[in-house]
C-alpha cells in the first residue's frame, strides 16, 4: 500500500502508467460516446411534454455531472498538495482546471440552448444557473492564477487555497433546485428511491455519463503527462524521451 503511494509520487512512473491507462480507456470512451450520441439523438422517443428538445439532456446532464465531479478531484488534489506537499497532486490539480472549465461551459451553453424552446428564455439568473456560472469562474480562476505567478510553487499554493474555498459552491449547486424556487427541474436520477425517468431514456443517459467520465479521465491523464514532461524537462528520462521522439 505505501509503496503504491510512493510510486504515485514518482513522475516517470506516473507518466508511464497514465499513458497505459489512456491507451485503453480512450478507445472505449470514444466508442461509448459515439454510441450514446447516436442513441440519444436518433433512437429514443421524444419527451411527451418537451418534444425533441429534451434530447439535449444526453449532453447537458453528463457535462454538468462530470464538471461537478471534476471539482471534487481538483479539490482533493489541492488538499493533498497543500497538506503533504505532493508535487504530483499539484500537477493533477492544475490539469483538472481547463477540463472542468470546458465541461461547465458545455453544461451552461447546452442549458441555454435547451432553455429557449422549453422555458422561452436563453438565460435566467436563478440559483442553479448562477452557481454553475460561479463554478466556471472558479475553474477559469485556477487557470488564470497559475499563469499569474512566476513562482510555480507559490502558484500551486494559491490555487489550492482558491480551490478549497470554492468547494463551498458545490453543495449550493446540488441543493439549489431544492432550496430556491427555480425554473430548473430537480434531479431525475436518484440513488435512493425511484428515478423519475423512463428506462428507455435512462440507459442512454447513463451511458453518456460514463462516456463523459471517460473523457474527463483521459483528458486529465493526458494533461498530467504533458505537465509532468514540462516540469521534468531537465531530467535524464525526459531528455531521453525527446531523443526518442526525434528519432
Amino acid at each position: 500500500m505505501w509503496s503504491f503511494f510512493h510510486k504515485l509520487g514518482s513522475p516517470p512512473w506516473l507518466y508511464r502508467i497514465a499513458g497505459t491507462i489512456v491507451r485503453w480507456l480512450l478507445p472505449v470512451t470514444l466508442v461509448a460516446l459515439c454510441v450514446g450520441l447516436v442513441w440519444g439523438l436518433l433512437y429514443t422517443a421524444p419527451d411527451f411534454r418537451q418534444g425533441n428538445s429534451y434530447r439535449i439532456i444526453y449532453i447537458h446532464v453528463p457535462a454538468a455531472v462530470v464538471a461537478l465531479a471534476g471539482y471534487y478531484v481538483m479539490a482533493i488534489a489541492g488538499a493533498v498538495s497543500l497538506i503533504w506537499k505532493m508535487k504530483m497532486a499539484d500537477v493533477a490539480m492544475k490539469s483538472c482546471a481547463p477540463i472542468g472549465a470546458a465541461l461547465t461551459f458545455i453544461a451552461l451553453v447546452t442549458g441555454a440552448i435547451w432553455g429557449k424552446p422549453t422555458w422561452g428564455t436563453w438565460w435566467v439568473w436563478d440559483a442553479r444557473i448562477t452557481s454553475m456560472l460561479i463554478l466556471l469562474f472558479l475553474y477559469l480562476g485556477v487557470v488564470a492564477l497559475y499563469e499569474a505567478y512566476d513562482n510555480k510553487e507559490a502558484a500551486g499554493k494559491a490555487c489550492a487555497v482558491l480551490t478549497l474555498v470554492g468547494t463551498v459552491n458545490i453543495p449550493i449547486i446540488y441543493k439549489s433546485v431544492d432550496w430556491w424556487y427555480s425554473l430548473h427541474q430537480p434531479a431525475s436520477i436518484k440513488f435512493t428511491g425511484d428515478s423519475t425517468i423512463d428506462p428507455s431514456m435512462l440507459y442512454p443517459l447513463l451511458l453518456m455519463i460514463a462516456a463523459f467520465y471517460g473523457v474527463f479521465t483521459c483528458c486529465l491523464l493526458m494533461n498530467m503527462r504533458a505537465e509532468i514532461l514540462e516540469r521534468e524537462a531537465r531530467t535524464n528520462w525526459v531528455k531521453k524521451l525527446a531523443l526518442e521522439y526525434r528519432a
Binding site: L33, L37, L41, L42, Y43, T44, A45, P46, G51, N52, S53, R55, I56, I59, H60, A63, P98, I99, A102, F105, I106, V109, T110, I113, W114, K116, P117, V215, C218, C219, M222, N223, R225, A226, L229, E230, A233, V238, K239, L241, A242, L243, Y245, R246
Partner: protein, 66 residues
C-alpha cells in the same frame, strides 16, 4: 430509429436547430480538450529535441575530443 426520414431527424419538429447546435458545440469542445494535451506534448518534445540538437552542435561538441 425514431425518425422516419433524414428530413425529420434534421428538423425534429422545429427543435432541430436547438438540438443539433447544442450537440455540435458539445462535440467541438470535447474535440478541443481531447486534442489539446497531445499537441502540447508533441510541441514540447519537438522543442526539447531541437535544443538538445543545438547543444550537441554547440560548445558541448568540444567534449568529444576528450
Amino acid at each position: 430509429m425514431y425518425f422516419d426520414s433524414v428530413q425529420a431527424a434534421l428538423s425534429m419538429d422545429g427543435h432541430g436547430g436547438f438540438v443539433w447546435s447544442a450537440y455540435g458545440i458539445c462535440l467541438l469542445v470535447l474535440m478541443l480538450i481531447l486534442l489539446a494535451p497531445r499537441r502540447r506534448q508533441q510541441k514540447f518534445l519537438r522543442q526539447l529535441a531541437g535544443e538538445q540538437k543545438r547543444r550537441q552542435r554547440g560548445p558541448t561538441v568540444l567534449k568529444e575530443g576528450n
